[in-house]
């Protein structure tokens, strides 16, 4: 009798939140974002852009802070801040003037400090800052869903059309142009799509934790498989599972979704990584 109750409780833990409208929207958004972030995340992991993705997400913070008070749509402000970051980074690292890691560190802290001052002293955003930094279950509106659809569609199209180019460019940067691969063109599109995906996941996971969807699932997938097609599919599946799991955890524990997804994602990665170590040790 007790086991039936326990099973029911578990089932209710899963299904109760899904009866609520805002959770249904959050769930839909998460599944769409899993497609976008899983696919783009695979390229982020392969092209070693993990730190850049995290930094780009963090860099949107000042944009998000000023969006509400200035009456700009948050994704637009975030995109502006993110593209500004990428542009400045490109400028600073051109011809080796500043090393990439130093430039990223400088821009990242500048964005955080600027956002902190704007939030605490100019616009007095107060507790709203948590939402910007770590995401929210509640605030996902139709605009966010539309953006998630766009990001997912763009990611699917781009992977189909440019996957070969990105693969060849990443595999052998010196030899790619000689193969007729339009490396520069493809990389520009990759960065643009990355910016779009970062902006799309911001409402759900927040500026400081874009890596939870963009990097961690794809990294876990990479531990599991060595073929590109399987990698892309696994990244999407893992992102979806972790996203939904994190969503439910956030609901029940009254937390923002970003940290919840982060903890689940990290746990899964650790288990898979340790499992691999054990397997090779045998």
């Amino acid at each position: 009798m007790r086991t039936v109750f326990d099973k029911l409780a578990v089932v209710r833990w899963l299904t109760d939140p899904l009866a609520i409208p805002f959770m249904q929207r959050a769930l839909l958004a998460t599944l769409l974002l899993a497609v976008a972030a899983g696919l783009l995340g695979t390229w982020v992991v392969l092209r070693r852009l993990a730190f850049f993705a995290h930094a780009a997400g963090t860099a949107t913070f000042p944009g998000l802070v000023v969006a509400g008070p200035l009456g700009i749509a948050a994704p637009l402000a975030a995109l502006g801040a993110g593209l500004g970051f990428a542009g400045l980074l490109s400028r600073m690292t051109r011809r080796g003037a500043t090393s990439a890691d130093a430039a990223t560190g400088l821009l990242l802290t500048a964005a955080l400090a600027l956002g902190a001052i704007l939030a605490s002293d100019v616009y007095r955003s107060g507790a709203g800052v948590d939402r910007l930094l770590f995401g929210t279950l509640l605030g996902l509106g139709d605009g966010d869903i539309a953006l998630a659809v766009a990001a997912a569609a763009a990611a699917l199209l781009a992977t189909a059309a440019l996957g070969r180019t990105w693969l060849a460019t990443g595999f052998d940067p010196a030899g790619a142009p000689a193969l007729g691969v339009r490396a520069a063109h493809g990389d520009r599109l990759l960065l643009g799509l990355l910016a779009l995906t970062v902006v799309a996941v911001l409402p759900a996971v927040g500026a400081l934790l874009v890596s939870t969807l963009l990097v961690v699932p794809a990294a876990t997938a990479r531990l599991l498989t060595g073929s590109l097609g399987a990698l892309l599919a696994a990244a999407v599946a893992i992102a979806a599972a972790e996203g939904v799991g994190g969503l439910l955890l956030a609901y029940h524990l009254d937390l923002p979704p970003g940290p919840a997804i982060a903890v689940i994602g990290g746990g899964v990665f650790a288990i898979v990584a340790l499992g691999g170590v054990v397997r090779t040790a045998r």
């Binding site: 392969l46 059309a161 440019l162 060849a168 595999f171 940067p173 030899g175 000689a178 193969l179 007729g180």
Partner: protein, 260 residues
């Protein structure tokens, strides 16, 4: 190792490289290459000899069209393929030997199409030709250095280029692969293609039809027997030549630079 499925060789007259008074630089900074003049016809293999930073890579870049000539001209007749050193490739990438080989067909595959079945067959034939038919499904990074170099040559075969640029194809390569690569290069030369082989190995350079000595500028160009004199070698390598066998053998001392 010639397979009957090998593609028809381009006619000897169709491929060639002609360089006239070429100079090139990266941006407004130091000139990387000055006054290079030589010509190579189909069926010729040219060893490009010189120290690091001497301009071998710069010359290749100009021939590939990636770097513009500052002065002079560089003309290539026929399609051109580049075989880089395998150290430059990402060994952890999820690509098999066949995947890498098929990259040679990317130029003729539109972005909305998968690689054609005919090109897939060409890829398998190319791998067979370099002796790696059994390894087509193996992950590229899991192969040995010599095997990886052979895969990159197979990639160039799929491109079916009349002119091939090879960047030190024998560096760090095991005996089996070295023999396989030499055999393939001889075949390609016999098919009427032009081969430019960048190398550090002075003895290796003697094997080919012509030698081009580069040290920031052209020191000499011609058949190895006439060109590889002590004077030329000292001019190319500066004081870094060690003479062995009473002056009959010359060995170049290589310094590896580490940039910070």
């Amino acid at each position: 190792m010639s397979s009957p499925a090998a593609p028809p060789a381009p006619a000897a007259a169709a491929s060639g490289v002609r360089v006239q008074g070429l100079s090139a630089s990266y941006g407004a900074a130091a000139i990387a290459l000055r006054d290079v003049t030589f010509a190579a016809a189909g069926g010729q293999a040219v060893a490009v000899l010189g120290p690091n930073g001497g301009g071998k890579t710069t010359l290749f870049r100009v021939l590939l069209g990636e770097l513009p000539a500052a002065t002079g001209s560089a003309a290539v007749r026929g399609t051109i393929a580049y075989v880089p050193q395998t150290e430059r490739s990402r060994l952890d990438f999820p690509v098999s030997a066949l995947d890498v080989t098929l990259m040679g067909a990317y130029a003729r595959t539109p972005w909305y199409r998968r690689v054609a079945a005919r090109d897939r067959a060409l890829g398998r034939a190319a791998l067979d030709r370099v002796g790696l038919a059994d390894s087509s499904g193996t992950r590229f990074g899991a192969l040995s250095g010599g095997q990886r170099q052979r895969v990159l040559i197979a990639r160039a075969l799929v491109q079916d280029a009349g002119v091939l640029l090879l960047d030190e194809p024998f560096a760090g390569v095991d005996r089996t692969s070295e023999e396989a690569i030499l055999s393939i290069l001889d075949e390609l030369r016999a098919e009427g293609r032009v081969l430019l082989i960048a190398t550090h190995d002075v003895e290796q350079a003697r094997r080919w039809d012509r030698v081009l000595c580069l040290a920031g500028t052209q020191i000499a160009y011609g058949p190895p027997a006439d060109t590889l004199t002590n004077a030329v070698l000292e001019g190319t390598y500066g004081a870094e030549i060690v003479m062995l066998d009473c002056g009959h053998r010359a060995v170049a001392i290589q310094h590896h630079s580490h940039s910070h």
